[in-house]
């Protein structure tokens, strides 16, 4: 049978404003490929983003989407899931967006286990505002507001997502189209909060790491280390090791699915309560609660 949608059907008419050589082009391509592979109706997709170079992703897609405020993609995505659980919701933003200003929303969304696929394009900096340290930047990083070097250790987003009870925690690499597609596809299949960190160096402001320099270092922990994502202890251990890729050495960088488990989603719990109140009460009957 002819597929109904081809990859191009998921691309909007907008030309991305990313720099030449930006790793986000790859993420965009991977997303459209996966959407086409799964033949999700573009009008049943809601791609929500924040603000940043990465968050422009929404605008490049021909799905429904909300390009929201810096750090606030998750609450908006949650609203749309709560009233329409039939929508496939993807949240795409940057490390600054999710983990600096937006980290509170991240914790709560993950813990409540909303069913959505959350993609953090992690270039370990604020790129759009022209290079400042983000929570994932390495110690000593010289961003424009930290000229003497960043003074705190990078946030390990995988460990953190596991600590926040995300039910699917994974990492992929913008330089590997296939790995991205596999990971995003699994994230979409997962019922619950699927977190995907995409290692996606900034082609303009990162003076050390590039897609090309990082590429040989990627190691899929599921395939090469037979890591079992159902094993929480192993997941945490693997995440702790994955802390950080340092551009100055050539240590392997683990990618793959670190952790996955199955827990009822927030939406499912709501559906249960709704079932218990199946008959929709009329306005008049609600009013009775207040009669004299």
């Amino acid at each position: 049978m002819m597929p109904r949608y081809i990859t191009q059907d998921y691309r909007s008419r907008i030309r991305p404003t990313w720099c030449k050589g930006c790793s986000y082009y790859g993420v965009l391509a991977a997303l459209t490929e996966v959407f086409a592979e799964k033949q999700i109706d573009p009008h049943r997709l809601n791609v929500v983003s924040g603000i940043g170079c990465s968050s422009r992703m929404t605008l490049c897609l021909n799905t429904f989407g909300l390009h929201t405020l810096h750090g606030r993609a998750l609450p908006v995505a949650i609203g749309s899931r709560l009233v329409n659980p039939d929508l496939t919701v993807v949240v795409a933003a940057g490390d600054g967006d999710f983990f600096s200003i937006g980290i509170g929303h991240f914790v709560h969304a993950a813990r409540k286990n909303f069913d959505m696929t959350v993609i953090c394009m992690d270039n370990r900096m604020y790129a759009m505002t022209k290079n400042q340290a983000s929570p994932t930047s390495i110690v000593g990083y010289r961003g424009s507001l930290t000229p003497w070097g960043k003074m705190s250790v990078p946030l390990n987003v995988l460990e953190f997502a596991i600590a926040c009870d995300a039910t699917f925690v994974s990492r992929t690499f913008a330089g590997s189209q296939q790995h991205m597609q596999e990971t995003i596809s699994r994230g979409l299949d997962h019922r619950g909060f699927s977190f995907i960190e995409v290692i996606a160096p900034c082609g303009t402001f990162d003076r050390t790491a590039t897609l090309a320099s990082l590429s040989p270092r990627m190691v899929d922990i599921n395939r090469e280390h037979r890591h079992d994502p159902a094993d929480k202890k192993a997941a945490l251990a693997a995440a702790v090791q994955a802390l950080d890729y340092d551009a100055s050495d050539d240590a392997p960088v683990p990618i793959g699915v670190f952790w996955e488990n199955s827990v009822p989603t927030f939406e499912e719990r709501i559906a249960e309560i709704k079932k218990a109140h199946k008959k929709k009460a009329s306005f008049a009957s609600l009013l009775k609660n207040y009669s004299l």
């Binding site: 429904f64 606030r72 709560l82 329409n84 509170g104 609600l286 207040y290 004299l292």
Partner: protein
């Protein structure tokens, strides 16, 4: 706090119009709380008026409440509350001044009869009921209702306490001090009358308007809206969601609106401040959303349970840049219902955020309301485009229409997608920053606001003198709860012979320029009454109309009283006449 409610219920059963206004401190324990019960034959205009009977159960209440008295107020005070210190002095002082004042051993009666001091308010209720000439039956029924879930033992104890109060009043207070409220037969239409707080009326208004998603973060005094909707929403097939903060609450409401449903969130001042960025986003992406701000006295944490109308400017102008917002204020509990319905209608129709400005007093005020006030309001739903074979490409979500609005497409429903963005954009929602595109979209968005005064039903309420009484002494304006209180003040001033024309806006913003220009033309002396420090609506009128009104304001955490407003107006009129 429940004694006031019981008295209200009993009076309502007897067929009276009744209102309870509550006031209490923001901490859980301590401080003094107050219930102000108004019982009237015809629906009362103002929920606040001269105090006929003051019953003070603590020395704190005695000291503070005896500051607002008329010479005719009958004072009852718990014996121990004036036993010593300032209480004793005040008692002497009042007696010496000829005020009618009785010392009542409420606490002792409660302990003696029911064996518990906790039940003293029921004793007080018995005394009050008797002084009002109420039959004990209604009161007993109301008490039974109040404690219906607490078991027959407690009900019985309360009955005993009630009777002790009734008896004490008969024995100790001369009939001449009793209030001769004309008796009437108990009404039988209980089914068609409801007892609602302002916050509950807002919640019911949302349900009636078709809201199916409510989300909020707890905050006094708005939590009542959420408490009501959290229960009702589920029964009504919708979803209520407690968010992690106010930013997330409004974000979720916008996301749900994008997904196609009517959404609301309620908060108070601090939450409104936090919502400013998302309010701007909603106006930029042109999505309907209703935000209820149950105002409390600011700034900052301020006085969390206290009355104020000081968020008007934050509601209109609080966000960076220039977005479109509509601001509506109810003046009564009934209007809490209708204003909320109107807010949803406006949000859907104009596709922008609509803010309902209630306040702590109105939100927690209880009133008896007739069914007719809650029935079949006009409902407007958003214009949805589901897509068609010949849908123009690209889809112009923000087409430059004369009206300024366009149909919405909805994920899962419409085949035509678009991406909403808070970046300035062109007609098809692509980011666009040329001066031409920018100006076109700014003008388009602001066009929406120009139509409201014409299109909305009764955006202002007129209360004019008969045509032949001109020239007027003054033109009055007031909004929100203060409008209700001002109406009573004006009635009494008219009784004194002043000629006053008044206008009470429900639509606060955009300002009804036509209406207020007409109003300003009626008389050169214009006065705006409101409960804030800087006279915000007054300033708004100066800035957007021909009017040059005087502010008459108070910002003390308590509403104006009608005599205060009357005195204020009288003094401005006299001063102007002298000038």
């Amino acid at each position: 706090m429940s004694a006031g409610d019981i008295l209200m219920k009993a009076s309502a059963h007897e067929g009276f119009d009744a209102t309870v206004v509550k006031s209490f401190p923001s901490n859980i324990r301590g401080g003094y709380s107050q219930s102000l019960v108004t019982i009237a034959e015809k629906p009362a205009v103002s929920p606040i008026g001269d105090c006929a009977i003051l019953f003070a159960l603590s020395s704190n209440a005695f000291l503070l409440d005896t500051l607002h008295l008329t010479p005719r107020t009958l004072i009852l005070v718990e014996t121990t509350a004036h036993a010593d210190g300032q209480g004793r002095d005040r008692f002497k002082q009042l007696s010496a001044a000829g005020q009618t004042i009785f010392s009542v051993p409420v606490l002792q009666l409660a302990r003696e009869t029911a064996g518990s001091s906790a039940i003293r308010s029921t004793v007080a209720l018995g005394i009050l009921g008797e002084l009002l000439g109420m039959g004990g039956d209604q009161l007993r029924a109301a008490v039974a209702w109040r404690f219906r879930e607490k078991g027959t033992g407690l009900i019985e104890l309360n009955r005993i306490a009630l009777d002790a109060g009734i008896l004490w009043a008969r024995q100790h207070i001369d009939k001449k001090y009793w209030l001769t409220v004309p008796r009437r037969r108990a009404r039988t239409d209980r089914e068609d009358r409801f007892m609602l707080e302002g916050n509950q009326a807002v919640a019911l208004g949302a349900i009636a308007a078709g809201c199916t998603f409510y989300t909020s973060y707890p905050i006094t005094p708005a939590t009542g809206v959420g408490e009501t909707l959290s229960r009702l929403m589920t029964a009504h097939g919708g979803v209520a969601y407690q968010a992690e903060d106010e930013i997330a609450a409004l974000g979720a409401a916008i996301g749900a609106s994008f997904a196609g449903v009517k959404t609301m969130t309620a908060t108070s001042g601090p939450g409104l401040s936090l919502m400013q960025e998302f309010l701007g986003y909603a106006s930029m992406v042109e999505l309907p959303v209703v935000v209820v701000d149950v105002q409390r006295a600011g700034p900052s944490t301020g006085m969390p349970t206290k009355h104020s109308q000081d968020d008007l400017f934050a509601a209109i102008f609080g966000g960076h840049g220039e977005g479109q917002r509509i601001v509506i204020a109810p003046a009564t509990v009934e209007e809490c219902f209708s204003a909320t319905v109107t807010a949803f209608n406006c949000a859907e129709h104009y596709q922008c955020p609509v803010i309902v400005l209630s306040d702590s007093t109105l939100g927690m005020m209880k009133r008896v309301i007739a069914k007719s006030a809650l029935e079949s309001p006009v409902i407007i739903n958003r214009d949805i485009f589901t897509g068609s074979d010949d849908t123009p490409t690209p889809w112009l979500r923000y087409r430059l229409t004369d009206s300024g609005t366009n149909p919405l497409t909805i994920p899962g429903v419409s085949s035509v997608t678009y991406r909403a963005t808070g970046i300035e954009h062109n007609e098809d929602s692509t980011p666009a920053t040329t001066p031409f595109e920018r100006c076109a979209q700014m003008e388009k968005r602001f066009r929406k606001l120009r139509r409201i005064e014409m299109e909305m039903d009764n955006p202002v309420l007129w209360d004019l003198e008969p045509a032949d009484t001109v020239p007027l002494d003054a033109c009055l304006c007031s909004w929100g709860l203060t409008a209700s209180i001002t109406r009573e003040a004006i009635a009494s001033l008219r009784g004194e012979g002043f000629r006053i024309a008044a206008v009470y806006p429900r639509l606060l913003f955009p300002v009804c320029t036509e209406a207020f220009n007409r109003w300003a033309d009626l008389c050169t002396l214009q006065i705006v009454v409101e409960a804030n420090f800087t006279g915000q609506f007054c300033a708004l009128l100066r800035m957007s109309t021909r009017a040059r009104p005087h502010p008459l304001t108070v910002s003390r955490g308590e509403p104006f009283t009608p005599p205060e407003i009357a005195a204020g107006i009288r003094s401005i009129i006299n001063k102007e006449a002298a000038a």
